[in-house]
Amino acid sequence: MANDKMKERIIELLSAALPLVDLDSDFLFSELDSLGVTTILMILSEEYGIVLDAKDATPRNLKNIDAILRMVEGKLKR
């Protein structure tokens, strides 16, 4: 449940910041440019108080919304 809410919130934040990006895509990373990647890192860092850096901005972590959700959850657990 909490994860569904977090996923909804992530979609809401990223939709507002990246209106051109298809967040439903399973190839999200390929849709992003450098600004898109950085925007995602910045928004998630601020929203969840986590530290994200270049090492986190991998095609695997940004593959789709579910992957992004797992990355955030992993950071929060730490």
Binding site: S15, P19, L20, S34, T38, T39, M42, D53, K55, A57
Partner: protein, 421 residues
């Protein structure tokens, strides 16, 4: 054609030295020279004539550079596209002499050497990246072409590994340099500071430009790269590379772009605008003598930049005297955006204005009045514009409003929406 003569010379003297490296290939100077000559022969056979502009897609790879150099060898021109000085999209012709002058300006001020690996992560079709081909190859150095800075980790790959598998076992590069727009610097400082610090001793110089850089970012970069030379450069497609300021040496002062370089001079017009002279200036706009005559007057380019020159001869920039939105170094004409939006059935009225952005500095924002009885999602407007505008021109921010403020004569009141500071 100093650049091409230099490539030919290195092809004879150092044929196996790397000239261009990308993710998928490496061209030695011998390879490069051979391919450029072959390409030039083909272009001539296809009808390319001396003095003719020749446009082709600016792909981010070695093949673009090969064709670009071949066009030069044919004594034709590769026109650069710009919104820049005049506000409307145009194509600019830059002479071989101007390209050489640009290169000599850069070599003289920054120190390009044969052992330098110059990392290009911006679009090759823009002056910021394209202008670095000349000084790097004229001095026998190596160009490392990245797709973009989307993968920040990729920026550090050439520092860790041999930049190309065929270079394994050879002495690694000792000096690295790059041109990074301020937003790219911010991205690296925010998300890859440790990695940057780890390679600091190998970075000879970093040049920035195309947009204002914040004092905080300059200071942080100096802290992370204490031994590198850091420059803030003033340039445009129309003026070429004109001034540069070594903020790592002389202090982090926002808006200061330093003294004119070897082949350039600047003065301030009566209206406070920067006027540039020298051998780096454009020849003119393709098929647009009227626009050329507005900007290129008596051998000087009249820019839209406001500035002043201090007692030390340093140029200070104060912003633009027009409505062009500088978004991360790209120039966006809001009228072009508004014209594109006007065809969208979802929107009755709109204005495109600059809005602060934490990475880009400024980004275009669209204030829109929805069409009657329409529930408009920004995504729908952005999708509509995607088919009509280059991606950097599509507004990042959207706000639905009840009305657009207009002046007494009905024009959008841009001053009322201008970002302060």
């Amino acid at each position: 054609m100093l650049l091409l003569d230099s490539i030919a010379r290195f092809a004879r003297q150092k044929p196996d030295n790397p000239a261009i490296i990308t993710a998928t290939e490496m061209l030695t100077y011998s390879d490069l020279h051979h391919r450029v000559c072959e390409r030039a022969d083909r272009l001539k056979a296809e009808g390319l004539r001396e003095g003719q502009p020749y446009s082709f897609p600016a792909t981010q790879d070695a093949d673009f550079i090969v064709t670009y150099l071949a066009v030069h060898l044919c004594r034709a021109f590769y026109p650069l596209h710009t919104t820049g000085t005049t506000g409307a999209s145009k194509s600019v012709i830059i002479s071989d002499e101007a390209w050489t002058a640009n290169a000599e300006n850069l070599i003289d001020r920054f120190g390009f050497t044969p052992d330098l690996l110059f990392i290009i992560c911006g679009p090759l079709g823009h002056l910021g990246s394209l202008s670095k081909i000349h000084p790097t190859l004229m001095t026998g150095g190596t160009l490392y072409i990245m797709d973009s800075l989307k993968d920040l980790n990729a920026f550090f790959k050439p520092f860790k590994d041999p930049p190309h598998p065929s270079l394994k076992g050879r002495e690694s590069f000792s000096r690295f340099a790059s041109f990074l727009v301020p937003s790219s610097i911010r991205m690296l400082l925010q998300f890859a500071r440790e990695e940057l610090a780890a390679v600091a001793h190998r970075i000879a110089f970093i040049e920035t430009g195309a947009a204002p850089i914040a004092q905080h970012d300059m200071e942080l970069l100096c802290e992370v790269l204490p031994h590198s030379r850091l420059f803030n450069t003033y340039a445009s497609t129309e003026t070429g590379i004109v001034c540069s300021y070594e903020f790592s040496r002389y202090g982090c002062r926002p808006g200061v772009v330093g003294k004119p370089m070897k082949h350039s001079s600047v003065r301030i017009g009566e209206d406070g605008r920067v006027i540039c002279a020298g051998t780096t200036l454009m020849m003119g706009y393709v098929d647009n003598p009227e626009a050329t005559a507005c900007v290129l007057v008596d051998g000087e380019v009249h820019t839209a930049d406001l500035g002043f020159i201090d007692d030390d001869g340093m140029l200070h920039l104060l912003g633009r005297d027009d409505d062009i939105i500088n978004t991360g170094g790209y120039k966006v004409n809001p009228i072009e955006v508004e014209d594109a939006v006007s065809a969208c059935p979802l929107v009755r009225d709109c204005i495109c204005v600059p809005d602060p952005h934490p990475v880009l500095g400024t980004a275009p924002k669209l204030l829109y009045v929805p069409a009657p009885d329409c529930e408009v999602k920004p995504r729908a407007i952005a999708e509509f514009l995607k088919a009509r505008l280059e991606s950097y021109k599509i507004p990042l921010f959207y706000e639905s409003v009840e009305a657009i403020r207009r002046t007494f004569n009905g024009k959008p009141d841009r001053k009322a929406y201008k970002v302060k500071g």
